[in-house]
Amino acid sequence: MVSDHIVKSFDDELNQLVSKIAEMGGLAERQLADSITALSRRDEELANSVIEQDARLDILEEDIDAHVIRMLALRQPQALDLRAVIVALKISAELERAGDYAKNVAKRALTLMQTPTVGPAANTIVRMGTIVGGMISNVIDAYLHADTIKAKEVRARDHDVDQIHTSLFRELLTYMMEDPRNITACTHLLFIAKNIERIGDHVTNIAENVHFLVSGENIAEDRPKSDFSSSTIVAVEDKAK
């Protein structure tokens, strides 16, 4: 669809940028999956490896920053090229943040290994993690193929993540009321759920960037808001019955 640049090295530089984003996306997806596996299997070694591997995302982000600055200075990209370069910069920042959250999940997984398990909450977290991991993979696909429809689907999927997060929030509050000894574990689980939910938000931002990259316009409709955890109250009577 879009033809090549007259100056071939310009295309090379843009392609390198795209590969670096793809690499970051793959890494962020794996970091999230590993942190969730570490949590569900109580795998200390895997949790530690996630914490260590986060530095790789930071390095890739810095590398992309430098690449973008060089391209802005030397190529002075215009129109879709300008969008490609700016969007790469923004997506790499989103992925780096997503990686930070995965690292945080791994840290809390380590802490949780020292507490007894509570209810089936971990299963819900695994489900959330699988959805968000799929969103990362799909949004990178959408980016690589300039696929705005896929980007919109990713954005819609975040709705499910928010809903699971809200219901998990209620569930964990209930466990805490049932038995105060659950409070430590549940609090860490709450933060883990929040971390995964935040990764979903970053992926949604990436989906919006993909739309902008392809169309040159910001996505129009408002995203449905379905995370009601910040206004959720569980009354003592609720759990009494």
């Binding site: 002075q76 215009q78 129109a79 300008l82």
Partner: protein, 265 residues
């Protein structure tokens, strides 16, 4: 962003200074421009961009009828300035060229003194009643062209003794001395270094308060920096016109996109 919005708002509300309708230009049997429709907003800078040979200079020359002096060149269609067709019967071409000044790619000062270069136009148009008034016009024009500090002690020196960038500013001073309404510039910075270019661009930005400016440039960055409206020509056709910001961030036509991003069209 607020700045960008303000520019596009003033652009939309700007009165139309000049308007081309169905302009066709032929050099002998060869057609150089086809069906050009373009509105030029008052007190704004309109940039004409496009590949070499697409007809930018040809179009620019239509606006002050400079094509009249090219043998075998024929212009059809209408160009109005303030609603009056400049190709209509009874139009005074000399008068028109005083209203619509021109600055060329290569600075072309007359082989006369700096003072005479600027004084020539006002004198032949009878704009000064005496020497004092003429002096005032010369000083004012050189001031507005940002050249006065560099030449005030050598007004009698030949114009050609100036540097390229200074000569170009002298030509701009000469163009504005006759108080034109529009200034046409054909690649005015192509022979200048980045500093001299920046000074001319700053000057263009200032001049648009008093004049309507149309500039032909091969530098995409220059078009983006100095103009509020951009028109993209391609093989004798006007492909796309829009707010400069839109043309450089989100052009609608694939030919525009290919050109400004340096792609194989």
């Amino acid at each position: 962003m607020a700045q960008a919005l303000r520019i596009s708002e003033t652009l939309e509300n700007a009165p139309v200074k000049a308007k081309a309708s169905k302009v066709q230009v032929f050099y002998g049997a060869k057609q150089a421009l086809t069906d050009i429709d373009l509105e030029i907003p008052q007190n704004h800078v309109t940039a004409l961009i496009g590949p070499s040979g697409c007809g930018k200079s040809t179009f620019l020359r239509c606006i002050n009828r400079m094509n009249d002096i090219i043998d075998g060149c024929r212009v059809e269609g209408d160009i109005t300035i303030d609603g009056v067709n400049i190709y209509g019967p009874g139009q005074d071409v000399v008068q028109l060229r005083a209203r619509v000044g021109m600055v060329f790619q290569k600075p072309n000062p007359f082989p006369k003194s700096i003072y005479e270069n600027v004084a020539y136009g006002p004198r032949i148009h009878g704009m000064a009643a005496n020497k004092k008034q003429l002096d005032d016009i010369v000083i004012d024009s050189l001031t507005r062209a940002g050249l006065i500090d560099e030449v005030k002690d050598r007004l009698d020196a030949p114009g050609t003794s100036l540097s390229g960038g200074q000569q170009q500013r002298l030509c701009i001073a000469r163009a504005i001395a006759v108080k034109p309404e529009m200034i046409l510039m054909d690649e005015p910075c192509s022979a200048l270094d980045p500093i001299a270019t920046a000074r001319i661009e700053e000057l263009i930005d200032e001049l648009r308060n008093n004049f309507t400016i149309v500039i032909v440039t091969h530098s995409m960055q220059q078009a983006a920096r100095v103009s509020q409206r951009t028109a993209f020509f391609h093989m004798g056709v006007l492909v796309e016109t829009g707010a400069t910001e839109q043309i450089f961030t989100n052009p609608k036509d694939t030919r525009t996109q290919a050109y400004i991003t340096g792609r194989i069209g």
